[in-house]
C-alpha cells in the first residue's frame, strides 16, 4: 500500500501538482521535468545546467553546495518561457545518481501581486471615472466662461462706442480751440479706444467660436475680391511702420466659396502681425497660389522669426511667441487662435514655417473641393 501511495504521490507531482519538479544528474544537468515545469520553463530545458535556468545577478551561487543542502528551502528566481522571471522556493532531495529539485510557488509574493493588481485596477477605474467627471466639469466651466466673455464684451461695446463717437466729435469740431496738448490727449483716447474695440471684438469672436456658434456664410469669391477689400487697411498699417507691403494676389479671378469677411479677418490679422514684427525698411509679402486641391494664401515677413518650440503654441488662445513686436504693439494673443478656427471652419489648415532670424511665413490653405461640397450642403 505504501509503495502504491508513493507512486500515486509521484504521479501527482509529475502530472498535476502546482510544483516545479526537475530531476538532475550528478553534474546538475536537467534530466527530466514534470508537466508544470514544462509549461513554465523555457523550451529545451532538458540537458541544460541548473545554473543556466537560475537568475544569478552576482554570478556567485554555488549550485553544488546548494543542491547538497537537505531539508532547507532556497528562494530561487528562474527564467521562464514567457521571459518574465518567477520566484520559487526550492528543496533538493537525493535520488539515485542525482537530485530531485522541487520548486513551490512563492505564495506570499503571489498574494501580494494579486492584491496589488486588484488595487491598481480599482484605482484605474476610479481614475477613469474621475477623469470623465472632471472633463465634464471643465466643459461646463468653459461654457460659463464663454457666456461671461460674450456678455461682458457685448456690454462693454456700447459705452466704448459712445466714448469713441464723442471723442471724435470733439476732435473734429473743436478746430483751433484745442491746444496741441489737449488734441494729443484726445487722439490718444481715440487710439486706445480703437485698440480696446479690437480686443472686445476678439473676445466676442472667441466666445462665439468656442460656443460652437461660428456659422460661415459661403459665397463664391475671387482672390481679387477677398484681398482687394482689405488692401487699403494693410497698406496703411505697413506705411505707418515704413514696411514695404508686396502683394501678389490681385489678378486671380477664379472663384471659391468662402465666407469672405471672415477670411479677410484672417488675412488682415496675418498681415498686421507680419508688419508689427517687422522693422522699418523690411518687406512683407501677401500672395496666393492654387495647387491641385487648395487655394493657399501666404504672408511672409523678414522679422525675427519664431523658435520651433514656440510655433506649437502660437495658435492657442492667449499663446503668444516670446518675440517682441518691433514697436512694442500690444495684443492679448487671440488673433491667431481666431484665425485658425476660421480657417478650420472652412475645412482648411493654417500653419507657420519659420527659422529664427530669417522671418516667418504663415499659410492658409482652403480646400476647393470640400468648400464646393459645403456650399452644396453635402458636408458641414
Amino acid at each position: 500500500m505504501q509503495a502504491d501511495a508513493a507512486e500515486a504521490a509521484l504521479a501527482y507531482v509529475m502530472e498535476t501538482a502546482p510544483v516545479l519538479a526537475l530531476t538532475l544528474d550528478a553534474q546538475l544537468h536537467v534530466v527530466a521535468v514534470n508537466e508544470m515545469a514544462r509549461s513554465v520553463l523555457p523550451e529545451g530545458t532538458e540537458g541544460s545546467l541548473l545554473a543556466e535556468l537560475v537568475v544569478d545577478f552576482s554570478n556567485s551561487m554555488d549550485f553544488t553546495w546548494l543542491t547538497a543542502q537537505r531539508g532547507s528551502s532556497h528562494r530561487l528566481t528562474i527564467k521562464t518561457a514567457s521571459g518574465l522571471p518567477e520566484t520559487y522556493h526550492f528543496r533538493f532531495f537525493p535520488l539515485a545518481g542525482g537530485t530531485l529539485a522541487l520548486g513551490g510557488m512563492d505564495f506570499q509574493e503571489q498574494a501580494l501581486m494579486h492584491s496589488e493588481v486588484l488595487g491598481l485596477n480599482r484605482e484605474l477605474n476610479n481614475l477613469a471615472r474621475s477623469l470623465h467627471q472632471a472633463n465634464a466639469e471643465l466643459l461646463e466651466l468653459n461654457q460659463l466662461k464663454n457666456q461671461f466673455l460674450g456678455m461682458a464684451a457685448h456690454d462693454l461695446r456700447n459705452p466704448l462706442g459712445i466714448i469713441m463717437i464723442y471723442d471724435g466729435f470733439v476732435l473734429d469740431g473743436a478746430g483751433d480751440t484745442l491746444s496741441a496738448e489737449h488734441r494729443c490727449y484726445l487722439e490718444k483716447i481715440q487710439t486706445a479706444a480703437r485698440r480696446m474695440q479690437q480686443i472686445i471684438d476678439d473676445f466676442l469672436d472667441v466666445s462665439m467660436i468656442e460656443s460652437g456658434n461660428l456659422r460661415l456664410e459661403l459665397v463664391p469669391a475671387s482672390v481679387v475680391e477677398i484681398v482687394g477689400d482689405i488692401l487699403p487697411i494693410c497698406q496703411l498699417a505697413a506705411e505707418k511702420k515704413k514696411v514695404a507691403l508686396l502683394v501678389d494676389a490681385t489678378n486671380d479671378r477664379r472663384r471659391l466659396p468662402v465666407d469672405a469677411p471672415k477670411l479677410q479677418q484672417v488675412l488682415l490679422n496675418l498681415v498686421r502681425n507680419a508688419v508689427e514684427y517687422s522693422l522699418a525698411g523690411q518687406r512683407v509679402w501677401l500672395s496666393s497660389q492654387w495647387d491641385d486641391r487648395s487655394l493657399v494664401f501666404a504672408v511672409r515677413d523678414e522679422g525675427p522669426g519664431i523658435a520651433q518650440e514656440e510655433q506649437g503654441r502660437l495658435f492657442a488662445a492667449f499663446g503668444r511667441a516670446n518675440t517682441r513686436k518691433t514697436a512694442k504693439e500690444r495684443s492679448v494673443g487671440l488673433g491667431l487662435a481666431i484665425a485658425q478656427k476660421i480657417v478650420k471652419a472652412h475645412g482648411g489648415r493654417l500653419w507657420v514655417e519659420s527659422t529664427p532670424g530669417a522671418g516667418a511665413a504663415f499659410f492658409a490653405a482652403l480646400p476647393s473641393k470640400k468648400l464646393d461640397e459645403m456650399l452644396e450642403g453635402k458636408c458641414q
Partner: protein
Amino acid sequence: MNEKSYRRYLNALIAGDQRQCQEIFEAWFAANPDLCHLYDGLVQRSLYEVGVLWERNQISVATEHLATAISEGLMNLIYPRLFKLPRVGKSAVVACSANEYHQIGGKMVADIFEANGWRGYFLGASTSPQELLGLIQGKCPDVVALSVAVHANLDAVLSLAETVRGAFADLPILVGGQAFLLGGRERAEQIAGVHYLASLAELEAWVIRHAG
C-alpha cells in the same frame, strides 16, 4: 432584454469573456437606456450571483475578482454619456467605509446620482474618515451616501456615518449595500438624519424626489 440574454451575460462573466459581456451590456443599454435598470438587472444581479457561486465553492476567488473587474470596466463605457447629462445643480459624495474593498456598489450609487443630473463624487474603496470629511468640506454636497458590501464592515460604516453627523449636523446621510441583507437597518436609522435605502431603484426615487 430577456432572461436568456442575462444568462448568456452571466456565463460570459464567469468565463472571463469580456468581449461577449460588452456586447450584451451595450445591447441591454441600447434597448433600454435607463442606468438603474442596467445596473440593477444586469451588473448587480450578476455580481450577486457570482458571489453566491463563490460562497458555494463553485468558482474560484480569481474568477470572482475577474468578474468584478470586467463589470467595472464595462461601467466605464457609460461615462462619456453619463457626465454630459444636464445638471440640476445638486451633488452627492459617495464613499465606502475603511477596509471595504468592494467598491462597485458605491460606484453604482454615484452613477445613479449622475444619471439624474446630480454630481456624484465617488471616493473609492476603503475611505478614511479624514478623506471623507475633507471632500465634504471641499464639495459642500447636498447628501452623503455610504455603501457597504461586507457585513463585517457594518460597524465601520455606521461609525463613519456618526463621524459625518458629528461634523455636519444637517447633512442628510444615505446608507445601503449588500451588507444590510443580514441586518443593521435599525442601527443605521438610529443615527440622526440617516436613511437606509434598500435598492438602486429606491435610491433613484430618493434622488428624483430631492432634485428640486
